[in-house]
């Protein structure tokens, strides 16, 4: 599910001009419970955030900076573990009752920070609260959920109007946060948003807006008291100043780094830049309905024209991995047998000539200013086969406005876009871009539509995998996109910190450890 990766939060530092280049690349940096480490002493961990949380009510936010904080205060029903497997969170296990019902068995003896029990009623309350339009939640994953049914104090059913095979995965982040019903009813929404109470590893201490958020270890955490005593998120939009702060000892972890920013740290001793695989894929959407791109030979030619490996090496300093299509390799549905396009200028030229464009042609390549360098580099490579792609940069908010507008041609013939699939299911990566009636789709292919329907409506993994494999082959053949890469997550840490991120990107710090304290 490509969530909140596009502009929202990151625009901030773009507008500040502080992280000009591919901000979106590193923005999903997240820590993931890391294992190992020495005994816990009274320790404080300071982590940079590229921008502040907008609200601490988990149902009213839909952006990673907020989520990065909240994941430490709240728990979700399911959890992506360090090896990217979906494991139990507040729900110990779950099963599909029928096509339209998922049953969750809850962990017992979990309480909120205020002592309120976290039971089926709380879960039902949370789900209902999220899908109630009055909540004005920007979270969209649960759009198929029609309600939650309490079966017993530790069992709850989620009912959907259509089959949703990946609902459990969707509950591992934004959609799956469980909030305390009594507390909210007593104190009101506004108070809750400033003084959140959850079941998570840390309790909320203090929020100085746009400056820092302080959390304290929750001694009664069901999964064991975290070794970090105090967790502070410092808002620092400028990567160079946060790196400076890291070097001067004001910070322990700098997140949200771009490849360019990461280079600045150089070989300074005592710190390191960690590159960890991510699930955010980048590609160029092509207008397959009009103009020269209507011809699939042209689309194939453009894919052959791109030297993605050089792009990764030069523009991203190697902080990415090639993907054959839109699906990251960690996701369910990825088929390693599908081969990416070969960089082959001669072939590209001959395909263009075949399509009647031997002399090349001109078109527009739109991108957000955040992706300026890569867009320009792509334009440079296309120029080598005679295709003049004029780069048109839009500020991230405008870019997003046009991306989601009703006019699918609002961004011109080609636009560069990224898409994160944090559910780690190919379904999320494809959902908005492939089926012809989806918002960002510019490809009308009945076969593809049928395959999407299959994978979206079946709960059987094998059926789904088959559909995905077929889809990936079809996407290579038809080339409705220019396929690029999945970006790595970059963060810088002081040597005294021990932790590791997972592929999807929230700063869950429960198992982080500090050495030498």
């Amino acid at each position: 599910m490509s969530v909140r990766e596009l502009p929202t939060r990151r625009d901030l530092f773009k507008l500040g001009g502080l992280a000009a280049a591919a901000l979106s690349l590193g923005a999903c940096a997240s820590t993931k419970p890391s294992t190992g480490g020495q005994g816990a002493a009274a320790t404080a961990l300071r982590v940079s955030l590229a921008s502040d949380a907008t609200t601490l009510d988990p149902h009213k936010q839909g952006d990673l900076p907020s989520m990065n904080v909240l994941i430490n205060v709240f728990d979700t029903l399911t959890v992506r573990d360090t090896s990217d497997q979906l494991v139990g969170g507040l729900a110990e296990r779950w099963e599909s009752k029928d096509d339209k019902t998922w049953r969750f068995h809850l962990r017992e003896n979990v309480t909120f920070h205020n002592g309120e029990p976290c039971d089926a009623a709380a879960v039902a309350y949370s789900i209902e609260r999220l899908i109630d339009p009055a909540t004005q939640s920007p979270i969209v994953e649960l759009r198929l959920v029609t309600g939650a049914k309490v079966i017993d104090p530790h069992t709850v059913d989620l009912v959907t109007k259509e089959p949703d095979p990946i609902l459990p995965a969707k509950l591992s982040l934004f959609g799956g946060v469980i909030v305390p019903p009594k507390y909210i009813k007593e104190k009101g929404d506004e108070f809750f948003a400033e003084h959140p109470v959850g079941t998570g590893p840390f309790t909320f201490e203090q929020w100085q807006r746009d400056s820092q958020i302080t959390l304290k270890a929750n001694p009664k955490y069901w999964n064991g008291r975290p070794s970090v005593e105090q967790l502070t998120f410092k808002v620092m939009p400028d990567p160079s100043s946060s790196l400076a702060a890291l070097q001067s000892g004001e910070l322990d972890v700098v997140t949200g780094l771009t490849p360019d920013a990461a280079q600045q740290l150089g070989d300074a001793p005592g710190f390191k830049v960690v590159t960890s695989p991510g699930v955010r894929t980048f590609f160029v959407s092509l207008d397959t309905e009009e103009g020269p791109l209507k011809d699939k030979r042209v689309r194939q030619a453009l894919n052959h024209a791109l030297d993605v490996d050089t792009l990764i090496k030069s523009v991203l300093n190697g902080a990415a991995e090639r993907t054959p299509t839109l699906i990251p390799k960690q996701a369910f549905g990825f088929d390693a047998s599908v081969q990416p396009f070969q960089h082959d200028v001669a072939k590209a030229k001959s395909l263009l000539a075949e399509a009647g464009h031997a002399g090349g042609f001109s078109l527009k390549l739109s991108s957000s200013t955040a992706d300026k360098d890569i867009a320009q580099a792509i334009s440079g490579q296309l120029a080598e086969v005679g295709v003049k792609a004029e780069v048109s940069l839009l500020d991230p908010a405008t870019f997003k406005g046009r991306l989601v507008s009703d006019n699918r041609k609002a961004l011109g013939e080609m636009y560069f876009v990224g898409n994160s699939g944090w559910t780690m299911d190919a379904s999320s990566n494809l959902q908005s871009f492939v089926r012809h009636d989806r918002r960002q789709s510019r490809w009308n292919n009945p076969e593809a539509d049928k395959l999407i329907d299959t994978e979206e409506q079946s709960v059987d993994p094998d059926t789904r995998q088959e559909a995905f494999t077929a889809l990936q082959k079809l996407m290579i053949e038809e080339s409705p996109f220019l396929y690029l890469y999945q970006a790595s997550i970059l963060y810088a840490v002081s040597d005294r910190v021990q932790w590791k991120t997972n592929a999807n990107g929230t700063l869950a710090m429960a198992t982080a450890k500090l050495a030498g304290s």
């Binding site: 599910m1 490509s2 969530v3 909140r4 596009l6 502009p7 929202t8 625009d11 901030l12 507008l15 500040g16 001009g17 502080l18 502040d52 907008t54 609200t55 009510d57 009213k60 839909g62 339009p133 009055a134 004005q136 920007p138 969209v140 759009r143 929404d189 506004e190 948003a193 807006r209 746009d210 400056s211 410092k234 808002v235 620092m236 939009p237 400028d238 160079s240 100043s241 946060s242 400076a244 702060a245 070097q247 001067s248 004001e250 991230p396 908010a397 405008t398 997003k400 406005g401 991306l403 989601v404 507008s405 009703d406 898409n419 999320s428 959902q431 908005s432 989806r438 918002r439 960002q440």
Partner: protein
Amino acid sequence: MIGFIVKRVGHTLLVLFCVATVAFFIVRLAGDPVQQMLPPEATIEQERALRASLGFDRPLLDQYVSYMTGLLGLDFGQSVFFHRPAFEVIMERLPLTIDLAVAAMAFTLIVSIPAGIVAAVRRGSATDTSVMASVLVGQSTPAFWVGILLILIFAVNLQWLPASGTGSPAHLVLPAITLGLYSAAMIARLLRSSLIDVLGEDYIRTARAKGLSGFKAVTAHGLRNASLPVVTVVGLEVGSLLGGAILTEQVFSWPGIGRLTVEAITYRDYPLMQATVLFLAAVFVIVNLVVDLSYALLDPRVRLS
């Protein structure tokens, strides 16, 4: 004097009314907060529902009328992203911007007033030349560039001062210098030329004919008179200070009104955008109102008329 005050207050309100109106319509040109709030894969129904629940699907005129009537009761609306009253959000950031503005103003005045006086009194001397050269450099350097250089030198290389963030007076130093530099150059130059004008006035000659020393003539008769045009410009400078604050707060991650404005713009958070614009405008016009009134206090010709 009373008539003057009433007239000026009236102007101020009129300007604020116009700013509010322009802000209302211009932010709606820039795009929709709903599109920024939802992830791209949201369905059109979800988008429509959210828009309706926020009230942004109502006719524009309707929204305008309720926005303007809200303003009468100091209700700037609810921030879409912060889920709180926009006014409250602003008030929360205000102290930081005030800190920054006060520090920048202090820097500006401490640097510019002595520089302007010395340059004017020693007109044509080496001191004057070097002050004027600094003034030109200060006026020619974009604020963001100054900020970057200061960070590079004092935070990154020398590590004397923090590069960004808040918390201690040390955090204020670089942003305040960045923000105040242009104004300092501006005011030093203005004070100099204003003082040179005043020093050529007949009443300075009268003072010298009475036997006052050149220095005494400047301090007793020159400064106050020369400050009149400077005071007016200081008021207008507040405008560039506020504009500069937007850039400076970005460069130094200073969580004040300037950054809030950019955030609001980024989110297309209508109510917050309107509120910050109106707030900045209000600060500007009120400062200028105060400047006009203090002008009147300084100048008996206005005060007593």
